[in-house]
Amino acid sequence: DAGITQSPRYKITETGRQVTLMCHQTWSHSYMFWYRQDLGHGLRLIYYSAAADITDKGEVPDGYVVSRSKTENFPLTLESATRSQTSVYFCATWTGGELGSPLHFGNGTRLTVT
């Protein structure tokens, strides 16, 4: 049982290119989240999804697009990558049950925009 799989693990892209980061879960958790982690900022929420076809913005959504056509997948697209989007991106899931129950994180995608 892989849990959460993020791909690719590492990605280098050029400024202005479109890039999609993939997140796949095997648990059927209702909620999925995208965070980015940068030195000095900690984890910041980009987008989240409460269910298939339901998504909403987090703290830092600008420059990102998400979709969730299936419960198990939550791709994050950078439509025109900028250097400021160089970061480590983490996908997480939550069952949607009791508040306070854990988020489960993938192992991240390290994205470098040159």
Binding site: G42, A50, E59, F90, L99, G100, S101, F105
Partner: protein, 113 residues
């Protein structure tokens, strides 16, 4: 402004000692607070939850306290081991109802033999 602060400097301690990490928050009134552990190149892993009506929570060698008056949580690891070396993150939910957690920047703990 709202913020969560953790000591950004690494905490270095000797094996067997108790490590104490601090999480302070401003302009939040969270119903609960969580602690996560993060190893290099990995995602955070949940450790403990403490709710606003709980003063203290324990799990094996871990202890968390929550002081809503001071707006502070302390995370203790007793009898620390080199395997405890990692970055520890605190997180709270600003009562959005969707568990849109806000994270501190984390404190790196180094336990030397």
């Amino acid at each position: 402004s709202q913020k969560i602060e953790q000591n950004s400097e690494a905490l270095n301690i000797q094996e067997g000692k108790t490590a104490t990490l601090t999480c302070n928050y401003t302009n939040y009134s969270p119903a609960y607070l969580q602690w996560y552990r993060q190893d290099p190149g990995r995602g955070p892993v949940f450790l403990l939850l403490i709710r606003e009506n709980e003063k203290e929570k324990r799990k094996e060698r871990l202890k968390v306290t929550f002081d809503t008056t001071l707006k502070q949580s302390l995370f203790h690891i007793t009898a620390s081991q080199p395997a405890d070396s990692a970055t520890y993150l605190c997180a709270l939910d600003p009562n959005t109802g969707f568990q849109k957690l806000v994270f501190g920047t984390g404190t790196r703990l180094l336990v030397s033999p």
